[in-house]
């Protein structure tokens, strides 16, 4: 297929662009295979470049022969294009619709994008599992890296290398995998250096209605317990949902078969509920005519903040079991690819100061989301404005980022990065020129040859100028475990994403500039004082010599 077939009208003159908080621009609208471009064709005038894949939906309106297209983006921005001529407008509209919903991955922009920046470190190699395991090896010998999933046969959504207890052989793993949803047998997610406790994650056990059991699965997770110690199984579903799962072959660990484990059920919602919340929340945020009462009741009805609270609470619980109770933890929900990852990754942010650095956080996203097989391609194919009925779409990753933002806001000096890194990841998870978030698992990424054919987002992020831009000027490394407050009054709406296009960012930017300036001025002074100190010391030692020639 050629893109040209889909582009009915490649170019229209006299189009007017309206954007929030920016002047309107009149110019030429061009459609290319991957971009919608509006240029005034004058120097120094801002232009619009929009990836088709960022377009969630469009709305067409007509007033006489003037057509208007409202473009609603996955990053929640809305722009308006006034297009003279009804036919042009219709053509542009249908072209955008076709180009923004291409099915084939190989037609996606990352395959066509060539970086115009110098790649210092290839992001595809920045966070390899074997490197992460080296850190673990330096702390403990109880774990080994298994190649049992080398060809993705044991678990299609796991990476080729996973960390498992040293005493458990690959055969046991294979058998345990057959007892877990999607073959996702329990693997190591996090090792708590302070007390040697671990967090594991898995898919639900396939106990079914007749209470199947699997000795190998029991052996595998018991192998992570110290003698005489008990562990916690955190099931992210309510007991009712977990019971219902039995009818479909799923289930949970019963006390009878797992006597050393205490099971706790939480209530993190499933994907379709989350998607519905996102749509309601964004709709509430975009209607500025609401009275206070209406706004608060719509915010409440969206349930978004409830999800944030529930996910954070569960993550705190997991962290608490590990750090305060000194117990190991196994986390799972149904598939083990959504709520499970929210909990395991957030618990690490709470427990592990490394995850609060720029590099460490990227590593966490790589380990606990990309390698761990969160189905990005399905979850992020549509956002809040999509008109089509959601199938697998869900803001699971966005909720994780929101929760990180809540912790960051409560501990503003404990993170090396700013909110901007979180916003950036949100954008790129939904539409990107980079290949990082394409595909849904390590196997798929390999099959799509992403490392060879596309650029990694981390290659872009990990350049000095970008790092500098994402750095938190207030960062002071904090080696402690940080416990966010999960009381409702402590959790706020993430304005940086949900109100981003509805209010001017200028004042907050000014505040940020001011902070940067205060810190930089201090550093510069320190440098100057140090250099003068050296100069003085030198002069003072020379002085006697000068006086006695």
């Amino acid at each position: 297929m050629e893109f040209a077939e889909l582009i009915k009208t490649p170019r229209v003159d006299g189009v007017v662009l309206h954007r929030p908080f920016m002047p309107t621009v009149e110019g030429t609208l061009c459609l290319t295979g991957h971009h919608l471009i509006l240029s005034s064709r004058q120097d120094n005038t801002e232009e619009l470049w929009l990836l088709h894949s960022n377009i969630d939906s469009i709305e067409k309106r007509f007033l006489g022969s003037l057509g208007t297209i409202i473009v609603k983006c996955k990053d929640l921005r809305m722009i308006q294009l006034d297009i003279p001529g009804m036919e042009e407008c219709l053509n542009i509209g249908s072209s955008i619709e076709a180009l923004s919903t291409l099915d084939s991955v190989s037609l996606m922009y990352p395959y066509f994008y060539r970086p115009m920046f110098e790649v210092i470190e290839d992001g595809w190699n920045s966070f390899l599992p074997e490197d992460a395991f080296k850190d673990l090896e330096s702390m403990t010998e109880e774990w080994r890296l298994s190649e049992v999933n080398r060809d993705f046969r044991v678990c299609t959504t796991y990476p080729p290398l996973v960390a498992v207890p040293r005493d458990v052989d690959d055969d046991t793993l294979r058998k345990a995998a057959s007892f877990r949803h999607g073959g996702r047998f329990p693997v190591l997610s996090y090792y708590h250096k302070k007390n040697g406790m671990v967090m594991m994650r898995a898919g639900q056990p396939l106990t079914g209605t007749n209470g199947r059991r699997c000795k190998e699965d029991e052996r595998l997770i018991n192998a992570t317990l110290r003698p005489g110690k008990r562990g916690y199984v955190i099931d992210t579903r309510t007991i009712t949902v977990a019971q219902q799962a039995k009818a479909r072959g799923g289930g949970f660990e019963t006390e009878a078969n797992y006597p050393q484990w205490r099971r706790i059920h939480k209530a993190i919602e499933r994907s379709n509920v989350l998607q519905d919340s996102l749509i309601k929340l964004v709709e509430a945020c975009n209607d500025q005519s609401h009275s206070m009462d209406r706004w608060l009741s719509k915010l409440e009805a969206s349930n978004w903040q409830t999800h944030v609270k529930e996910i954070l609470t569960t993550a705190c619980l997991a962290a608490q079991c590990i750090d305060r109770e000194g117990a190991s933890v196994l986390v799972h929900g149904t598939e083990g690819t959504d709520s499970t990852l929210q909990v395991t990754s957030l618990a690490q942010i709470i427990l592990d100061p490394t995850c609060r650095t720029i590099q460490g956080f990227q590593g966490l996203v790589e380990r606990e989301w990309l390698q761990a097989g969160h189905p990005f391609a399905q979850r992020c194919s549509m956002s809040a404005y999509s008109n089509s009925k959601p199938r697998h779409e869900a803001p699971v990753f966005l909720l994780f980022l929101d929760c990180v933002w809540q912790i960051l806001r409560q501990f503003p000096c404990s993170f090396q990065f700013t909110e901007q890194l979180l916003v950036l990841l949100f954008e790129h998870a939904y539409a990107s020129q980079f290949g990082t978030f394409l595909g849904s698992s390590a196997a798929e990424r390999l099959r799509l040859s992403l490392p060879e054919k596309t650029v990694s987002l981390w290659s872009w992020v990990n350049r000095p100028q970008e790092i500098d831009h994402l750095s938190n000027p207030l960062y002071e490394p904090n080696s402690l475990v940080i416990w966010p407050s999960v009381a409702p009054q402590s959790l706020l709406l993430w304005e940086g994403v949900f109100l981003r296009w509805n209010r001017s960012p200028r004042c907050q930017e000014e505040a940020h500039e001011e902070m940067v300036h205060i810190i930089e001025y201090n550093k510069e002074l320190q440098n100057k004082v140090n250099s003068l100190r050296r100069q003085l010391a030198q002069l003072e030692t020379q002085e006697p010599l000068l006086q006695t020639p």
């Binding site: 030429t28 295979g33 991957h34 471009i37 064709r41 120097d43 120094n44 232009e47 470049w49 929009l50 990836l51 960022n54 115009m116 920046f117 500025q288 609401h290 009275s291 206070m292 009462d293 608060l296 009741s297 915010l299 409440e300 609270k309 000096c413 916003v423 790129h428 020129q433 207030l474 002071e476 940080i482 416990w483 966010p484 407050s485 409702p488 009054q489 402590s490 706020l492 709406l493 940086g496 209010r503 001017s504 930017e509 000014e510 505040a511 940020h512 500039e513 902070m515 300036h517 205060i518 810190i519 930089e520 201090n522 510069e524 100057k528 004082v529 003068l532 003085l536 002069l539 002085e543």
Partner: protein, 658 residues
Amino acid sequence: MEHIRTPKVEQVRLLQCRGGQRKTLLGTLYLSATHTIFVENHPETRRETWVLHSMVSGLDRPPSGPTGSQLLLRCKDFRVIHLLFPQERDCVDVHASLTRLSRPESYSELYCLSINPNTNQEEREKSWSLVLPSQDYQRMGLPNNLWVATAANSEYKMCDSYPAQLFVSRWASPAILMGSSRFRSRGRLPVLSYFHQDTLAAVCRCSQPLSGFSGRSEEDEQMLTAVMKANPGSDFIYVVDTRPRLNAMANRAAGKGYESEDHYGNIKLHFSGIDNIHVMRSSQQRILDVGEQRTPSMSDFLLGLENSGWLKHIKAVLDAGVFIARAVADEGVSVVVHCSDGWDRTAQACSVASVLLEPYYRTTKGLMVLIEKDWVSFGHKFSHRYGHLDGDPREVSPVLDQFLEVLWQLAQQFPCAFQYNERFLLDVRSHAYSCQDGTFLGNSEKERRALRLQERSFSVWSRLWRDREKYWNPLYRAEQGQSQGVLRPNTTPYCFKMWKGLYSPAETPAPQPKTPADLLSSVMEGSQQLEQELANQQERLAALTGKPISYQKVEVPKRKINQSQLRYSGPDPPTTYSYPITSPAQNHGSFHRASEAANQKSRRPDAGLCLPLEPQGSGKGRDPDDLSSDLESGVADLSVGDEVIGGQDGEEAGLSSD
């Protein structure tokens, strides 16, 4: 002292709950004439908790448990002191004593009048001269050829709740003043509150007219015409009635009401819809209940917030201020503001508008002056509203709370615009309730003068001014964009948040995180020391080399950050593009060039890009209006590690140092 049944109880437990953690301290409870004091037994910490009797708003005795008898002290700053007594008799005695002590029947029982003012006469006199409304009128360039001072109320005969010093339109004759005063509720005629020097428009305040359904007063109509004439740039004025329209109409049945556009030529009426003090009182109780819920769900919380109506009221107050500020700054039209009596909602609306219009009021001193002028001198009934004496509970209402909260909400939107921080707003609020100093005592200037407060007590402003370093917002820059000119806040409902610092301070993450303000303040302190050291080094360098001293300044250019628009407005870096558009898909390389150009474009010519560097330290630079810097010297931090509610005075503080 006769009300204290038992001055000291031992083995009392103090239950604390902070950040989800419960803690119990064992110690001794003392009752003094002015404070309840709890001293922990622990020999190392000996933490002290001081509660001023006038800060206690209520006492509860929940049923006794196996561990002892409980007593809850509910404070006016919404903290709750939870005590456990081993003996029920002690609990009953303390309860009875505090019930009496926390509800004084006369002013003379209040803490601020119970101290001996003669010990520090000079300091006392100075404290009262720190903040004067007259300074503010001078600052506004008054009197001028439009607005003049009048002596009509010098003996409080025309209006007993107004100050002696009033500014009125030059076109208002004494007869007009008298007539207008007679036609206004409680004689509160339209007088100047704020004069905008750029547009020459003014904000005037008064009470509702005694119009009934059809009554009119020629003098009052002339009075408003005089207000209009005092603004050469416009041929009408706005009359802002801050009440809901229905309330205003209902008042007509009682012979009061609002101005008819038919009778008054050249006015435009506007209703702001701020509810009355009774609605506000119960609304605040409801938002407090929301903050005190034990483990509420998110829905409980959000629905509770909605049902309290509190944020709706805060928005109404801000909206009223925004309307007035726009009229004055954008249209250049003068505004006359009133509600019913003109001492609650009117004070809110006028002072919010002043803060939006005038950068000076966003400074620490400026806010003091504004409260002294618009609230204290114009007869906001502090003693009634904040329950200083045992009296009618229907007079109590969080009017000042709402004004201070509007400032907090504004500071959320404009982090660099205010010289003071949240702590300052909270402390001003506490002082209004505790009446620890004489400033807020009484209900009018006349009453304060009769009480000879200036001879018998201190002004609260000198106490707060002494601590101004503590209240300093490190992000404030006087010369910067949002500190200058008119503030134009966004008042969409989603911009308002619950003021957690006031309504739910106990919900904190753990360990208590460092705030950006703390960190920046310590960095700035470090910079000051470095500046000093740098100056010394340069002197030594000059001495050693024999060359003249050259004070080199360290300059760091401020970086423009345009985070959300430029860099990430799409996942594709070239959001701006300056190549010919012939074959766009092949050209992606212009990002840096283009963003640089855009950066330059957005960079305003700004002389104040770098900090002024003074070798002698920039402490002075922070307070452009530092009139009494000598007050700051020698004041130690009284209460490190101790909890003080409603404060303690210097002498007693000696006890508490550990």
